[in-house]
């Protein structure tokens, strides 16, 4: 992804130092992580309900 400043020199960095600072990537990662969490909650809930159904039969 590369260093988020024009020169690869820490002396020039006064603020944000994370990957993708100043660009769109941090927002994209946040959006992806939210989607993953929602999907996993949905999928895990399905599995849990299947277990309840199996126990009830």
């Amino acid at each position: 992804m590369g260093f988020p400043y024009p020169e690869a020199d820490w002396e020039l960095v006064e603020g944000a130092m994370y990957m993708g600072a100043g660009g769109a990537l941090p927002g994209i990662y946040t959006f992806i992580s939210i989607l993953i969490c929602i999907y996993l909650l949905w999928a895990c809930n399905r599995v849990e309900w299947n277990k309840y159904d199996e126990a009830g039969e």
């Binding site: 590369g2 690869a8 020199d9 002396e11 130092m17 990957m19 993708g20 992580s33 969490c37 599995v47």
Partner: protein
């Protein structure tokens, strides 16, 4: 007017002196407090592996873990600390570009005799050496604890202790000198970045354990004649899970000790905290990324296993998976990487089991495999970041190739010494507990105390 200037100058000098004392006390206290926090890691590993042990072996498992801690302290004092300062440039023992390494430098500050003894004992003019040495000693204890769980229920106590000394006071220290020191050749030549020691502590310890496991062999009853594995359940899963949570608490101390505070003669900057490489770092960065790593790891393991043991192992794996770049990751990316580690964990452990390796607590996977994953993933996402302080073109940058080189070196620094020392111990009969003793249980044979003299009765609740 002159008198006023003189008075003002004197007051400024007084204030500077007070500020200096305050900063020095802060720096000393900062590392001092990281030490008991890291002892919580050891307490956690103790609970973790005792819980994962069958009842007949509980105390002997705990005893060897306690002994690992005890032997790590003096051996790291006698030679481990010297290795860290002497080895950074490789086996030439020469001084590196930062001038804080090599045999001459190590002889001057890290030996318990001669001129350097002044830095290795109580000294009113030195408020740094003892706390740094203490923090590094606890890093060493962590490596020994990582191995300890993998080999439970069939390793001899003294044989294990010798393995622990080789790992904790030599193997990982060489890795730290090479990849966790501003003069380390992996850093200066390849730009290896491993802020939170995912490779040089976790991977080295995990693969050292693998080297030992190859020679040690599985517990009796672990594998059937057709090669399929049995699950030798520990006697107390809640104890194991609580131990894992204690480990997570202790890692806040471990990771805070990876930060170099500002304002001292040995600091990189007068006003900015840094990593051990001299690159910028803040405790806020740690807080963001440690917590996101833990959360991601637990969720990944939950999604894949729904097993509390693997969920808490996933918590640890999540943190390890991002430890190399806790200073550089964006928190949501941390979460995604850690979630991947949590999912990867159980299948990776299953592969090891299919190869006939009996790793009782999954240490090779959690620490070894995930440690390597951490190094490589950082190489993908952080390529181009300066690995050290210095202008572009003058210092190495983080790269995928560099991180892979680091991963290979750390794997070898773990596996090879682990294999060799355990091979020698096995050859002289000091490694594996005899089969008859394993079947009878290690505690009844060699421990003078009893873990549960009244058993674990299923007591009825009080009547209403």
């Amino acid at each position: 007017m002159e008198a006023q200037i003189a008075e003002l100058t004197a007051r400024i000098a007084e204030l500077e002196s007070k500020a200096s004392v305050t900063n020095t006390m802060f720096a000393e206290t900062y590392y001092y407090l990281s030490i008991p926090l890291m002892i919580i890691i050891h307490a956690g590993f103790l609970a973790y592996e005792m819980g994962a042990t069958r009842m007949k072996n509980v105390l002997s498992s705990g005893m060897k873990n306690i002994l690992a801690f005890a032997f790590m302290v003096p051996t790291f004092y006698w030679f481990g600390w010297w290795v860290y300062w002497g080895f950074p440039t490789g086996i030439t023992f020469s001084a590196g570009p930062a001038g804080i390494s090599g045999a001459e430098y190590a002889n001057a500050i890290a030996l318990g005799w001669g001129e350097s003894a002044q830095y290795m004992g109580p000294n009113i003019a030195d408020q740094a050496s003892g706390v740094f040495w203490g923090a590094f000693t606890l890093f060493a204890c962590t490596t020994a604890s990582i191995m300890s769980g993998a080999v439970i229920e069939r390793i001899q106590t003294v044989g294990f202790t010798i393995c622990a000394i080789v790992l904790g006071s030599f193997a990982w220290v060489v890795a730290a000198a090479w990849g966790w020191h501003a003069d380390g050749w992996l850093v200066t030549k390849f730009g290896v970045h491993d802020f939170g020691a995912a490779g040089l502590v976790h991977a080295v310890a995990g693969f050292f354990a693998l080297g030992v496991l190859v020679n040690l062999g599985p517990r009796i009853g672990k594998f059937n004649s057709d090669g399929t594995a049995n699950n030798l359940r520990g006697h107390n899963l809640p104890f194991t899970v609580t131990g894992l949570m204690l480990i997570m608490v202790g890692f806040w101390g471990f990771l805070m000790a990876c930060v170099i505070v500002p304002g001292e003669a040995w600091s990189w900057y007068p006003d900015k905290a840094t990593t051990i490489y001299g690159t910028p770092m803040t405790l806020s960065a740690l807080s963001f990324n440690i917590l996101m790593g833990m959360g991601g790891g637990i969720i990944g393991s939950y999604a894949y296993t729904r097993d509390p043991f693997w969920m808490m192992s996933g918590c640890l794996a999540g943190l390890i998976s991002v430890a190399s770049g806790l200073d550089l990751y964006w928190p949501s990316l941390t979460f995604i990487i850690a979630l991947g580690a949590g999912i990867l964990l159980k299948p990776a452990a299953d592969v090891l089991e299919r190869w006939g390796i009996d790793d009782a607590v999954g240490a090779v996977t959690v620490h070894g495999t995930i440690g390597i994953y951490a190094l490589v993933v950082l190489g993908i996402f952080a390529s181009g970041f300066p690995a050290l302080q210095g202008a572009e073109g003058e210092v190495a940058q983080i790269s995928l190739i560099g991180q892979i080189v680091g991963a290979i070196v750390f794997f070898l620094l773990g596996f090879v010494p682990g294999y060799i020392v355990s091979w020698i111990l096995n050859a002289v009969g000091m490694l594996r507990v005899p089969d008859a003793v394993q079947e009878a249980g290690l505690d009844p044979v060699k421990v003078t105390a009893q873990a549960y003299p009244e058993g674990i009765p299923n007591s009825p609740p009080a009547g209403t």
